[in-house]
Subunit: 459 residues, 2 copies
């Protein structure tokens, strides 16, 4: 008998799960229905800042696969269809499909044998006066990006305020610079990029200033002023900042409300709990993507990290398992990368503060080097920080800030971290060397050497 897989959420995690399940089970064996409340499925949310910046000119370029392609695979994608409840007893979902007119919407019920919850994240909206004014934009969905481009085009704003100095904030600050706007970045912390140590975050602050961004650090957002419903200024604990356009880059939390309401276990991070096969505690119910929490393999604590690469891997694992195979997502080490104009930034593992919070006694070293042999044309600056455990020298985290060719070096560190290498062991790593690609001691090895020397392991 044919059974039915229902997928809630049609982006990376949900559609990866659907595709992988379909690969292993034909339509005669498994019916697949995917509900997506928006207008697009399977697109790169991480690409939105580059769409807004103009690096990508066609929103369609961000779409990995269109609904028609899924239909060809016998995956029934339902756009503008929002699941509003999960009924575990009846093994069904209640969903609402937008009718022709936005106002009225039908509610219907569909049973499932297997369920994938891939509801994504909820962007943090500040609970301050005026936050619903026109001209305040989020950048979570492709619709958000298209809407922002339309706003830029129609209103020709002059002054943009970006609220939040994390990855999205950085990328959106660059996008606004590219549109020729005056850009102010507001963050409640004393540094942008709070996932970095303060010294490394300070380098990003310097880079932002050098690109002409006004920084308002250590300022709490208090509200928005508006005229005729349109934003005119941002109020912070430091004063008023005139604004024709505000971009919210405050991150997101796991969208686990639906799961929680259904009685599915949600962890301390607010993300749905799963095992390494992406199973929730409820038989036949899976979860993947920004709505779940996962294990941080260094702190060994649950974390909720919204990132397309995790969503894809988790969705794929869920789909393979639903398809009768075996695949796992063991966790993350906290790798991330971004850039601001010519400045690249990357991190993996725990920051110094995170290491302390996780109970590690840690120390750190920072080294400066070049991306190529110093004498080779195009050698660029790279600063590498390593955080390691006192007494053992075990690598706990690493951060890189530098110019072109710097950031991707974080991958070698991420793999070393995955294996719990000590900095001393790392000094022997057989990393690639030729003058156009690295100094004879790669910046990663130089950092490991200095960390090993600081530990005194060789003295």
């Amino acid at each position: 008998m044919t059974s039915r897989l229902v997928v809630i959420g049609g982006d990376a995690a949900g559609m990866s799960a659907a595709s992988q399940a379909r690969k292993r089970r034909p339509a005669s064996d498994l019916e697949i229905v995917a509900f997506e409340r928006g207008q697009h499925v399977s697109y790169s949310a991480c690409g939105i800042p580059y769409l807004v910046a103009g690096d990508v000119t066609d929103p369609d370029a961000l779409v990995a696969r269109h609904p028609a392609e899924f239909l060809k695979l016998d995956i029934d994608v339902r756009l503008s269809s929002e699941v509003v409840a999960i009924d575990l007893d009846r093994r069904s979902v209640v969903f609402r499909s937008a009718a022709g007119s936005g106002a009225s919407a039908r509610e219907s019920v569909l049973g499932f044998d297997q369920l994938v919850i891939a509801t994504g994240g909820v962007p943090t909206r500040p609970d301050v006066p005026g936050s619903l004014s026109v001209g305040i934009h989020g950048v979570q969905t492709l619709e958000d990006g298209i809407r922002l481009l339309g706003y830029l085009d129609r209103h020709q704003p002059r002054r943009a305020v970006v609220v939040g100095g994390g990855y999205i904030g950085l990328e959106m600050a660059e996008a606004m610079l590219r549109h020729g706007l005056d850009v102010t970045l507001v963050d409640a912390a004393e540094q942008p990029m709070r996932t970095l140590d303060p010294d490394m975050g300070g380098l990003i602050a310097d880079a932002l200033r050098a690109e002409g961004v006004t920084l308002r650090l250590g300022e709490r957002l208090e509200g928005f002023a508006s005229t005729a419903g349109r934003v005119t200024a941002v109020h912070t604990s430091g004063g008023e900042i005139p604004a024709d356009l505000v971009i919210l880059g405050l991150g997101s939390r796991p969208n686990s409300d639906l799961a929680r309401a259904a009685g599915i276990a949600v962890g301390e991070t607010g993300g749905v709990r799963t095992d390494r096969r992406m199973r929730t505690a409820d038989e036949g119910v899976w979860a993947a993507g920004d709505c779940v929490e996962t294990l941080h393999l260094v702190s060994l604590r649950p974390v909720a990290i919204a990132l397309g690469t995790h969503a894809n891997k988790q969705g794929r694992a869920a789909g393979i398992n639903i398809g009768g195979g075996y695949a796992t997502f063991p966790g993350v080490v906290g790798t991330a990368v971004s850039k601001l104009c010519g400045t690249e930034v990357a991190r993996t593992g725990l920051s110094t503060a995170e290491a302390a919070a996780a109970g590690f006694a840690a120390y750190s070293v920072t080294t400066e080097s070049t991306t190529r042999a110093g004498y080779y044309p195009g050698a660029r600056k790279i600063k590498t920080k390593i955080i390691a455990e006192r007494t053992t020298g075990r690598l706990l985290g690493a951060q890189i800030v530098g110019e072109e060719g710097a950031a991707k070096r974080i991958d070698a560190l991420a793999v070393a971290l995955w294996h719990g290498m000590t900095v001393e062991e790392m000094t022997s790593l057989d990393l690639s060397y030729a003058p156009p690609f690295a100094p004879v001691w790669d910046p990663v090895l130089i950092a490991a050497r200095k960390a090993a020397e600081a530990l005194g392991s060789f003295s």
Copy 2:
């Protein structure tokens, strides 16, 4: 009482050893004398092709440290001084210092307590008629590079033949193109870059042809024709190739003759045998750099790989140990990287042929991807090949050929290889992702996925 360390060979390995020993033991405790038969110490031999190409305009830029800097550290560097014998019984070396006139040279004896053999490599000179003709150049030493530049300048050659299609051959072919010469590359094998599988080597052949290099593959070198002592043609099994300039890029063998003559153990590769602390079997005698053999951590066989990064690490380990510390060089996984104009190439681990020779039953997969998200400007092609063990899926090797941003990805694979990861485990690796840096599945992960799927581990 002061003891004496004698270092034979003043390049990367020897001078790293000297510096590290000095760091830990002052001159009052350890006298250090380093003999170098050439005119320069501590330079980047790997930089010579880029000096010849014109990327580096001053030979001095390749010199990491000058003799005067070592003198300041109380390291007595003796240039133009060649050690001609090691006497283990008397614990002394016999050396010859060039006198003012090249012809006569004094022979002297100097005792040692500790000895570092860092005699480097002997470039392979083909044993064919005419190989001593003027216009046939090696590119092993800085002197070689300077001499070649002088030849180019004085003789304005039009046709260059590069003999040998390995890393140096590739780099010198590019250097000659940059000088505007007609370039022919000769190799006895049917592909350039024999350390790659034939299909990946074929991509390099394509790239060479696209850059205008004439390839003469599968042709054995038979001799050189000359007029008035100057080379005019190269004879191969395939015919005659007119040449105004010949560059030999045939690799090198460990320069272990001095060690062997002294009765110090030399392995089957021709390299001096050491343990992981770089000790030879003889008490107080160390060896490091291109003259030693080391353990290949995948094949578990001894290999002799001439590479500056290994030489530096080995010399450093020897010096730390001589200084009373503890440091090791556990071996290599065979990582290498190079480029030909815009084409980057990298490899690590075993090739398919090497895996078979080492007794592995291996399979391989090749994947095509891009260096950035496909929609992001500047996304370039990258082809990634993975070689893995049948039945276990253990990674055995990897090869990359691609455009800008491709090759350095080999490092993540090299670290994975170092830890004996399976391709299935690798699919979970937390590699950095953002559209300017990678597709949502990094090319490394795509290759791992395909390799895992080929193994059938998920079906």
